[in-house]
Amino acid sequence: MLFALVLLLTIGCIAFILARDGKGVPRPDGLWLLLRPDAPDAGLVRALAARWLATGRAGISTVHALLLVPVVVLSLQLLGPHAWFGREVGGLDVVIFDLTVAAAALVLIFRSRAWAATLAAAGLLVLGAYGWLIAVFWPVPGFAYGFSDLHNSPMPAPLWADALEGSLLLALGLWLAPRVMRHHLAETLSPSDLELAARAQQLTKRVQTLTQTRHDAVDTAAAELRRIERDLHDGAQARLVALGMSLRAAERMFASNPEAALALVAEARETSSRALTDLRDLVRGIYPPVLADRGLADAVRALALDTPLRTELDVDLPGEVEMPVSAAVYFAVAEALANAARHSGARTVRIHLRHAAGTLRAQVTDDGAGGADPAAGTGLAGVERRLATFDGILAVSSPPGGPTIVAIEVPCALSSAKTSSC
């Protein structure tokens, strides 16, 4: 009776641990749902089970099944026929009983390794728990009474031996049980469940990435707008105010002092020129006109023309990259070139831009002194965040002595090449 109770409890506990709903809250009917694929919510439970399945090994070998042998031997020792029949039985009966049980165990081991291992795991856990129970509670007065029908002696072997044996069995059981459960889960779950679980895991990761990059993208966009606002405010706007003031002053002076008025008008013209320069620089920083006109390949060629370093170009894009991606890559290459010109002491820089297998790859290699720390400047970090919005990555390799390589990769498709409009 007691044996059966402990076994049931163990299975119940395992089922309880396994069975959780989507938010990780335990639900007692989880195991039931595993067996009933059509029930509502079953898909989720199966997916969660499959996820757990993926965390360890599920294979059952003969070695695992053979663990049933010590379990049977120990059980027979512990629970002789008297425990099963409830009375003292003779020597021949015991032999027959032992042989029958041993034969059944052997048949099970060779017919179904999985179920033999399952039984072994359950047995190991129960026997281990039993060993500890005896070790801890045997000296408690009155406890032995409940077990007196199981044990002929009032006091078994030394208690530490029971504890040691219990620990060993528990450890073996705990090692075997998850493997066995995984095996049964693998049998129960269909490939689609496993796929679903893998997919769910991927999706979870993806959502985390998207949350982070969206956050970064919003931040970057806000900072960019702030910069544009400030540039306009301090630059073109201020110059237009000055322009208006000069013109107004000139207007007043026209009659009284035409020469001074003329000088003011000339000044106004200068100011308007500078306002245009400010706006031009601002536009270049927002979306370079050459990129809008010609696309990424020519825009990178234009960048190469503007750098004071000697350039070697390997640019080949048979189509066009969509606008936000090409802008991100353009600014990444621009930043890499600017760093090479500013810090590295390089003479030559090689720019490589190609698209293959759904990935746009850009690489800027200079022959400078190397030793650049990508974490030091904010430029490349900003570029990296911007690229991350498109699942792009930026890697910098700059050993002391050079060369410095800035590599950019963005997964993207190429559209057909832009055609001339006239």
Binding site: L276, T277, P289, V290, D293, L305, L309, C422
Partner: protein, 214 residues
Amino acid sequence: MRVVIGEDLFLLREGLVKLLSAHGFDIVAAVATAPELLAALVGEQPDVGIVDVRLPPTHTDDGLRAALQARARVPGLPVLVLSQYVEQLYARELLADQAGGVGYLLKDRVFNDEAFTGAIRTVAAGGTVLDPEVVRRLLGRHSRTEPLTRLTPREHEVLALMAEGRSNAAIAQRLFITEKAVSKHAAGIFAKLDLAPSDDDNRRVLAVLAYLES
């Protein structure tokens, strides 16, 4: 002098027409789109075409493409290209045929009408005019390399003005030196850059630009 204007913004187009009319130019066509511009340039064969880089229909570099196409059909057709920004890439494309009669200026150079009309006349006469901004960037590319590092500051200034397409007289006036001094500097520059000397203004500009673009 017969002029064709290609500019899509009404205010700027009218402004150009007024400005050039006031300076005695004969505006034979003022159009707003690239296809119209191409038709006018090829059909009218003006003394000079004044072209905005960005034109409809795509609002990218349609104007520049139209100008290049027109020059492909009518070799040496003088074209002065205007833009809100300058790119060495576009300058290179305009200069590629080595035929002269090319100008490339920022739009705000229009403010200085004397210099602007001067540039139009230079281009119409088959000369080359490049915006100081383009030249600055061209020189920037060579700022760290031999033999440009061997030039004296004065020679640098003269080289920049030569690359802009200015004549010896214009350079002399600009730098407050004599024409003879300019000639001397020019000879020095050509020797240092290992270029064959030339008295022809336009050939000299093209040689300098070819050198800087290499």
